[in-house]
């Protein structure tokens, strides 16, 4: 087990290196010039050149890459081209809202989706099944921002139950924090609920045809317990996998949701940084997201051992 984790951790190094190279190259080849953006509207060509030199953008790309890599190795993510702040500082102040949003979204999605999926599987072919699956397909079909605007219009403007936008730090109290995140989490979780409910249904359906379900029934077990004790635990591995895969999906959704709800998280930072060509920030964020993704997949793989004793590393 330990050696497995070590091996997996070691394997993340080449993956992240690939990511680093690709991201770095992609950014340096983009047409945008951060120096021009920094210099502003009235800048002359010479001023822009000065700034480029100052930012180190005039060095050969390979050299820039190794300077950056060297910094990374020392744990130094560099400094934003724009803000008088280090990338580390920028990311760490943005991490709480994004984590909160992602956390609430996943909790909400799991709590809603899994019972729905189990129900649909149990009632396979009935109208309940069709409604649940119909909802899940619609969940895939409506763009996130449309859902966001609709929810804001109904629940914030018409009903006034939740704030229109903004984020309350958890330090200001759990109540306000939660209220500020209800609509964003709902918006973001729609596609997630759809995804997990479908996976749960499929996976439970498959398990329900297994012999040990028949065994459990032959013992006289009640249907509820057959579903939730025997079926769900066996169906857990693909469900957990899809939750893990969904993290990638979530990251995309976070960008849009944070824009709609003005949540000062990493998603917004990413868009801002990309639009401003703030290379050090973009590089660090993509690398961080990739790292999180890889780690979550490792956690997912490790969680298999909890759900399925046959899996040992």
């Amino acid at each position: 087990m330990i050696s497995y984790i070590l091996r997996r951790l070691a394997a993340t190094v080449p993956v992240l290196f690939t990511v680093a190279v690709m991201v770095f190259l992609m950014l340096r080849l983009t047409p945008g010039d951060p120096a021009a953006i920094i210099a502003g509207d009235n800048a002359t060509t010479q001023q822009i050149l000065d700034i480029r030199t100052k930012l180190g953008l005039e060095q050969p790309i390979v050299q820039q890459f190794f300077i950056w890599l060297g910094g990374l190795a020392r744990g130094d993510l560099g400094e934003s081209f724009f803000f008088r702040k280090t990338v580390f500082e920028l990311i760490s102040e943005r991490i709480e809202p994004t984590l909160s949003l992602a956390f609430l979204t996943i909790v909400l999605a799991v709590v809603v989706a899994i019972p729905l999926g189990v129900l649909a599987a149990y009632k396979q072919g009935t109208w309940i099944d069709r409604i649940v699956m119909g909802f899940s397909v619609i969940g895939f079909s409506v763009p996130v921002f449309v859902i966001g605007y609709l929810l804001v219009y109904i629940f914030a403007i018409k009903l006034g139950w939740f704030p229109v936008q903004g984020y309350q730090r958890i330090g200001n109290g759990v109540g306000p924090w939660f209220r500020s995140l209800v609509l964003p989490a709902f918006t973001l979780s729609v596609i997630y609920v759809a995804l997990i409910a479908r996976m749960t249904r499929t996976s439970v359906l498959e398990v329900l045809s297994e012999d040990y379900i028949r065994t459990a029934r032959a013992k006289g077990q009640t249907e509820m317990k057959v579903l939730f004790q025997h079926a769900l635990k066996n169906a857990a591995v693909p469900i957990v996998t899809v939750v893990g895969i969904g993290v990638a999906l979530l990251i995309g959704g976070v960008v849009v949701t944070e824009s709609v709800y003005s949540i000062p998280g990493l998603g917004r930072l990413t868009v801002d940084a990309v639009l401003a060509r703030d290379f050090p920030v973009i590089q660090a964020i993509i690398l961080a997201f990739s790292f999180v993704y890889v780690m979550i997949n490792l956690l997912v793989d490790l969680s298999y051992t909890i759900f399925d004793p046959r899996i040992r590393y």
Partner: protein, 534 residues
Amino acid sequence: MKSVKLSRRTVMAGAAAAGALASSTGASAQGAQNVLRVVMHSDLRIIDPIWTTAYIVRNYGYMIYDTLFALDAKGEVQPQMVDKYTVSDDKLTYTFTLRDGLMWHDNQPVTSADIIPSIRRWAARDPLGQTVMGFIGSMEAKDPKTFEIKLKEATGLLIFALGKPSSNVPFMMPKRVAETDPNTQITEFIGSGPFMFVRDEWKPGDRAVYVKFAGYKPRSEPASGLAGGKVAKVDRVEWRVITDQQQAVNALQAGEIDLIEAPSHDLLPLLKADRNIKLFNWNVLGNQYTMRFNHTVAPFNNPKIRQAVLYALNQEDFLKATIGDPEYYKVCKAMFVCGSPLETMAGMEDKLESNFAKARQLLQEAGYNREPVVLLHSTDLQVLTNLAPVAKSLLERAGFVVDMQSMDWQTVVARRVKRDPPTQGGWSAMLTSWVAADILNPVMAGFFNASGDRAAFGWPTDPEIETLRARFARANTVAEQKQIAEAIQRRVSEAPTHVHLGQWYSPGAHRGNISGWLEAPAPVFWNMEKGRGA
């Protein structure tokens, strides 16, 4: 000692704001009266108003810095930090005396030793500053409160320049800050203005926070434009970032914020219909849409072809497509802005009427070879997005071949300084907007600079315009200035450096309990009050 007090206030104010949002929908809660929650047009990312010309940074400058002179509501320059000044008879020696009680935010007194490097650093960056610097022989601090500027040659621009209302504004900074290399961003936030910047709460992309500076001594005159007594009437100003325009309007209507600097024009009907919301046109001079040519490559290296554009376009189409409501735009052929001292129609009478026949004729005479016009289209700034499609449609009707390339504004910014041929990442034309206060005369308006490589992007070379601009700088009377401005406009109507596409106004919106917003070229938050209720 001071910092302890400051931080306690900060904490208390922060707690008040948090409490406000925590209660119900956050609509105008009782505890939040001294906090002004504002959505500005953009996010504050850079905090050096000399280093960049970005308007958001200019606005930041007005919060924390003070100026020697300032433009009042009538458009006249008034002393601000300066108590009084004298001019020698030969108009070459200016002696300034600072007001009593001017303090930096670190409670050090403001002295002449701070002023001179501040002027120098500004003059190194600002085009008008550079021009004025050409006239200045020496600057000298006579005593802590007095300094003297000696000119090599008389100019009417010195006081005007020191009171320049918009980017770059000559803000005064402490000596150690002002001595920073002009090409390097400053790292300190110490000014002498009515508000202090709270560094710890500055989260780019989220918010920028200011608190009232207790040590600020306002002038005794009532506030007028950017001049007069800058009395901070709220304890705290928070600039919130809401990138989604509609959400900003929603938040204003829900009372989650108090004020929007520049709500999207298309959303104004919503705000007009809301009894709790008031609209206020704070920038009376407004803004001017502009099309800039790249003079270094075909087809716009040919003045006749540029003139054809002038004939082909009309202002109304652009204004309708972007602003829509005629209440907020004005067709105006005066390049130095309608309503300003230098307003003139000279040379423009038959232009900007979408005379396609004339345009086609000019193209033929110029031997237009159907080189494609690479038109940069920015897609993410609401006030600019619809300009390029209109330009494309009009130019095509005049016989141009247009290759409109869409990109975000930052890419436009990067792209427009590239001098490559249009097919290899260069450009032919782009559209932008100026704050009218920045283009009131041919010296300060950057697009009239026709000194080739030293000019702003587009790089026009036109010795005739340059000669006229030099003469303008030396002109001492308004009549003389106006005559030169007319000549420049005439010259530009023959060989355009850029095309002005109409004036537009961007009213701010605020909740009914906010009062005291001043008419000025920049949004300022002194004098503003927040009353009870919505």
